[in-house]
C-alpha cells in the first residue's frame, strides 16, 4: 500500500508545489529578467548605441531559456518531478487531475515566459523610447 498524506507534511505541501511548478518558474524568470535588466540599465553597465544593451538583452534571453527549459522538463516528466518534490510515489486516484492541472499551468507559464522574453528581441534594452 502506498503512503498516504495523512502522515506526511512533505507530501501535503509538496503536492501543492508540484501543481505550481510552471507559475513558480515564471515568477523566477520575471524576477531574474526584470532585476538584471533594470539594474544593468540603472548603473549604465554595458549600454551601447541608442539605449541598446547586449549584456542586458543576453541576460534576459538566457534566463528565459533556462526557466522555459525547466518548465518543459516538468511538462514532459510529471512523475519524476512529483517524486523529486514530494519524495513519494504519485497518488493514483488524483493523478490525472494533478498532472493535467500541472501541465496546463506549465503551458500557460511557458507562453507567459515567451511573451516576456519577446521584448528583449524586439526592443533596445535600456531606452525610454518616449
Amino acid at each position: 500500500m502506498r503512503m498516504r498524506d495523512t502522515s506526511s507534511n512533505r507530501q501535503m505541501i509538496g503536492t501543492l508545489i508540484f501543481i505550481l511548478i510552471g507559475p513558480i518558474l515564471w515568477a523566477l524568470q520575471l524576477t531574474l529578467i526584470y532585476g538584471a535588466q533594470s539594474s544593468l540599465c540603472a548603473f549604465e553597465v554595458g549600454i551601447g548605441a541608442n539605449g541598446g544593451n547586449v549584456l542586458a538583452a543576453g541576460t534576459v534571453i538566457g534566463a528565459s531559456v533556462l526557466c522555459m527549459a525547466l518548465a518543459v522538463a516538468a511538462f514532459v516528466m510529471p512523475g519524476a518531478s512529483y517524486r523529486l518534490i514530494t519524495g513519494a510515489s504519485s497518488p493514483d486516484d488524483q493523478w490525472p487531475f494533478l498532472t493535467s492541472v500541472m501541465r496546463i499551468l506549465a503551458g500557460l507559464s511557458l507562453l507567459a515566459m515567451l511573451y516576456a522574453a519577446l521584448g528583449a528581441v524586439l526592443l533596445p534594452a535600456c531606452a525610454q523610447l518616449r
Binding site: 541608442n50 539605449g51 507562453l111 511573451y115 519577446l118 521584448g119 524586439l122 526592443l123 533596445p124 531606452a127 525610454q128 523610447l129 518616449r130
Partner: protein
C-alpha cells in the same frame, strides 16, 4: 492606411456625442507623430475588441437559446480550449508584437540629436517652461509651449514639488514628472495649430486647474516668436501703464515674478516678461485680458483655490486697472 477613414469616424462619433466638441485636448484628433500612431493602434484594438465582444455575446446567446445541436458543440472542453485558449493566444500574440513595434517607432524621434530642447517643470499648479539654447541660453516662459512643426522636440520633464504628469493628448501620450528624475519626451507636431494639455497625475489642491497650451507653428513663425520671447519686456507706454509698472514694483510683485528688463527677478511664480502675449492666464484657467488680470490679482484664491499666490485686495479700482493694463502690455 485606414487612419483617415477612422479619424473621420472618430470625428463623427465625437460630434455626435460631444455636441460642439472642442477637441483641443482630445486624443481623437492627433496632431503629433506619436499621438497619430497611438490613435491608429486604438482603432485597430477597438474594432478587434468589438468583434470579440460581439462574439462572446452571440456565444452566450446561443448557449442560452440555441438548438440542441449547436449547444452541444459549445458544451465541451474542446470549445473552451479553442475559444478560451487558442484564439486569445493568437490574438494577444499579434497585439503584443504590434504594441512592441509601435514602441520601437518611438525610438526614431529620440535619436534625433541636436533638436530643440525645452525644460518643463511641474509646479503646484502651473508649468515652468524653459527653452534651452544650444549655446546654453535659457529663455523662461510659463504655461504655454511653442513648437516648430515637423521637428522633433525633446522635453526634459522635472518637478519642483510633487509628482505631475505632462499630457498633451493631441501630440503624444503622457509622461510623469518625478522628484529627483529627468524624464525625456520627444514630440513632433505634424500640423500647425493650438492644442491643450493638462496635468494627468493627481497633484493635490488645484490639480483640476493645471493646464497649458501647445502652439505648433511653422518653423519661421516659431523663430519669430522665439526672438520676441528672448527679448526683454517692452517698456510701459502711456501713463496708466507707467503707474501700473510702479505699482508692480512697489507692491513687491517682483519677489515672486520675473519681468526681464524691469528689475523684477523673482523665481517663485511664473515668468511674466511676455505674459501679455500668452493665450491664457493661470495655467489655462482664465482668458488673457485686462479684466482677467484684475480678477486674478484680487480673487485668485476663489478662481483657483489653494494656489500659491496670496490674494491682493490692497489695490483700489484705479490701481487695479493700471496694474492690469501694464501686465497686459507685456507682449
Amino acid at each position: 492606411m485606414t487612419a483617415p477613414v477612422l479619424r473621420s469616424l472618430a470625428g463623427t462619433l465625437c460630434l455626435l456625442a460631444l455636441a460642439g466638441c472642442a477637441g483641443e485636448q482630445s486624443a481623437f484628433f492627433p496632431r503629433g507623430a506619436e499621438a497619430e500612431r497611438i490613435e491608429t493602434l486604438f482603432w485597430v484594438m477597438t474594432i478587434a475588441g468589438s468583434v470579440i465582444f460581439i462574439g462572446v455575446v452571440v456565444a452566450t446567446g446561443v448557449a442560452m437559446l440555441g438548438g440542441q445541436r449547436v449547444r452541444r458543440v459549445l458544451a465541451g472542453e474542446r470549445f473552451i480550449a479553442g475559444a478560451g485558449i487558442a484564439f486569445p493566444v493568437a490574438a494577444l500574440s499579434i497585439l503584443l508584437v504590434a504594441g512592441f513595434l509601435v514602441m520601437r517607432a518611438g525610438a526614431a524621434g529620440e535619436d534625433a540629436e541636436g533638436g530643440l530642447r525645452i525644460a518643463v517643470s511641474g509646479e503646484r499648479w502651473w508649468w515652468r517652461v524653459t527653452y534651452l539654447g544650444e549655446d546654453g541660453t535659457q529663455i523662461e516662459s510659463a504655461n504655454e509651449l511653442h513648437l516648430p512643426v515637423g521637428e522633433p522636440v525633446t522635453l526634459e520633464l522635472t518637478t519642483a514639488d510633487v509628482i505631475h504628469s505632462f499630457w498633451a493628448p493631441q501630440l503624444a501620450g503622457k509622461l510623469d514628472m518625478i522628484p529627483g528624475r529627468i524624464n525625456r519626451l520627444t514630440l513632433t507636431a505634424t500640423e500647425p495649430g493650438v492644442s491643450r494639455g493638462q496635468c494627468a497625475e493627481y497633484c493635490g489642491g488645484a490639480h483640476a486647474f493645471m493646464s497649458f497650451q501647445v502652439v505648433a507653428q511653422p518653423p519661421e513663425d516659431f523663430a519669430d516668436w522665439m526672438a520676441n520671447e528672448a527679448a526683454d519686456a517692452p517698456a510701459p507706454q502711456g501713463e496708466s501703464e507707467a503707474r501700473g509698472a510702479e505699482l508692480f514694483r512697489q507692491a513687491g510683485c517682483g519677489a515672486c515674478h520675473t519681468v526681464r528688463g524691469a528689475g523684477a527677478n523673482g523665481r517663485i511664480g511664473p515668468d511674466l516678461t511676455h505674459v501679455g502675449s500668452r493665450r491664457s492666464l493661470a495655467a489655462a484657467t482664465l482668458p488673457n485680458d485686462a479684466e482677467a488680470f484684475a480678477r486674478w490679482i484680487t480673487d485668485n484664491q476663489h478662481i483657483k483655490p489653494e494656489n500659491q499666490m496670496p490674494p491682493y485686495t490692497i489695490f483700489d479700482e484705479a490701481e487695479l486697472e493700471d496694474l492690469s493694463n501694464y501686465l497686459e502690455s507685456l507682449k
